[in-house]
């Protein structure tokens, strides 16, 4: 899957999963710092990524660099799929 397809899928998921109404969900927006997703949103996101991109997420992956934005998540998923 191409990077832009991955990021679009993630963007759609986050829009649907968030309780806040977001018009523009930029690739660089810090989704946890800005409160777009909360802790339940984070673990639901993990399940979404594992089921849709056939990857495994472990405790060691739980750093901001991997999940802070759509761009970071897309890079993380792409790396894992290689």
């Amino acid at each position: 899957m191409e990077q832009h397809e991955i990021s679009e899928k993630i963007r759609e998921y986050i829009k649907a999963a968030s309780f806040s109404s977001i018009d523009n969900l930029d690739d660089d927006l810090l989704i946890f710092k800005e409160g777009i997703l909360d802790s339940m949103g984070l673990i639901s996101l993990f399940s979404f990524l594992e089921e849709n991109f056939s990857i495994q997420i472990t405790d060691a992956d739980l750093v901001e660099e991997n999940f802070e934005s759509i761009k970071a998540i897309t890079n993380f998923v792409s790396e894992r799929q290689k």
């Binding site: 949103g41 639901s44 993990f46």
Partner: protein, 330 residues
């Protein structure tokens, strides 16, 4: 108003006159139980932990030992130490006690089977008759600001541990099943309270209430909560003044909910309580993260991360502190 605010320092939470604080709480308790609630006494669940011990001592001072019933509510995953320490506490304060083992009720609810079914979806080999288990948060809140995520750990009979991040469905099922424990305890406390025309004393401290480390209609179900506005370090100050047995004061606070041993820090709080107390005080009272960081000798970024973590926990657990919402007629 800010000009009058005390400069932040490491001892800012220290209670200056502990005897006065104890007398104030006990005075209020007496008034609330005997007058506001019109009950003849109180029932309290005692676990051998610091919070229930201090709550018990304050209740005895308020109502008299003859009007207090201590309930021990073990189940099959409870540490036997909890029962021994609770009995020691009860003996020291001269109250009546009763042991109610809730394992049978929990079996009836399917607490263990529902929980174990979810764990086996993560670890096929998990056999609850020989394995132990726990769930907890592994992230360090000082180092980053991602929301917390729970992992499940299983321990085989040889003591080898295996841990995995919990998928959302399994996480929710394990928590929902485990919460039968606190809710069964609450039901039993109210049985004894109603039988004796007593009130139920709740034992959470400030962090448990504010950060949502309690079960709605479980340990959060009570008539009065004497220490719910006290920080954990203050609870220890009161414990020493009230003569709580030393073994209880020295015991590391545990969750005593899962079969594998686990501290409260490991399960939920992620920070030692001495540090957590001070940062929470700083956050709640609007102290700048930089001022708190310099008083505690920590990088400012770490304090900012913990502030965010507190803010998030308080927001996401607001639902737990809410009373049923009554819809008004139009």
């Amino acid at each position: 108003m800010n000009a009058k605010k005390e400069k932040f320092h490491k001892h800012i939470l220290e209670i200056k006159d502990v005897a006065k604080t104890c007398d104030h709480i006990s005075g209020q308790l007496k008034e609330i139980v005997f007058k506001n609630l019109s009950r003849r006494g109180a029932v309290i669940g005692i676990s051998g932990g610091i919070d229930s011990s201090v709550s018990l001592a304050l209740t005895v001072n308020a109502l008299g030992a003859e009007n207090v019933l201590g309930l021990m509510l073990p189940e099959k995953d409870s540490s036997p130490e909890s029962l021994d320490l609770a009995q020691k506490l009860a003996d020291k304060f001269g109250i009546r006690t009763q042991i109610e083992d809730i394992s049978g009720a929990l079996n009836g609810f399917g607490c263990y089977t529902r929980r174990d079914e979810a764990i086996r979806r993560v670890f096929e080999e998990y056999d609850p008759t020989v394995y132990k288990m726990k769930i907890g948060i592994k992230q360090n809140p000082l180092k980053h600001s991602l929301p917390p995520a729970f992992s499940v750990t299983i321990v085989d009979p040889e003591g080898n541990e295996k841990s995995k991040l919990l998928p959302v469905k399994e996480y929710l099922q394990i928590v929902a099943a485990s919460n039968f424990k606190q809710r069964s305890r609450m039901t039993m406390l109210y049985y004894h309270a109603e039988k004796n025309y007593y009130a139920v004393i709740g034992t959470p401290n400030k962090h448990e209430v504010q950060q949502g480390f309690f079960v709605k209609h479980g340990d959060g179900g009570a008539d009065v909560m004497p220490i719910a506005s006290l920080y954990k370090t203050q609870v220890y100050q009161l414990a020493r003044h009230l003569g709580i047995p030393e073994e209880i004061i020295k015991r590391t606070p545990t969750s005593d909910t899962y079969s594998a041993e686990q501290t409260q820090e490991e399960f939920f709080f992620q920070l030692p309580f001495e540090l957590m107390d001070l940062i929470w005080y700083g956050w709640e009272n609007g102290y700048d993260a930089g001022e708190v960081a310099s008083a505690l000798g920590k990088p400012e970024e770490e304090i900012r991360n913990v502030y965010k973590n507190f803010h998030r926990k308080k927001e996401t657990t607001a639902y737990l502190r809410k009373q049923p919402v009554v819809i008004q007629p139009d």
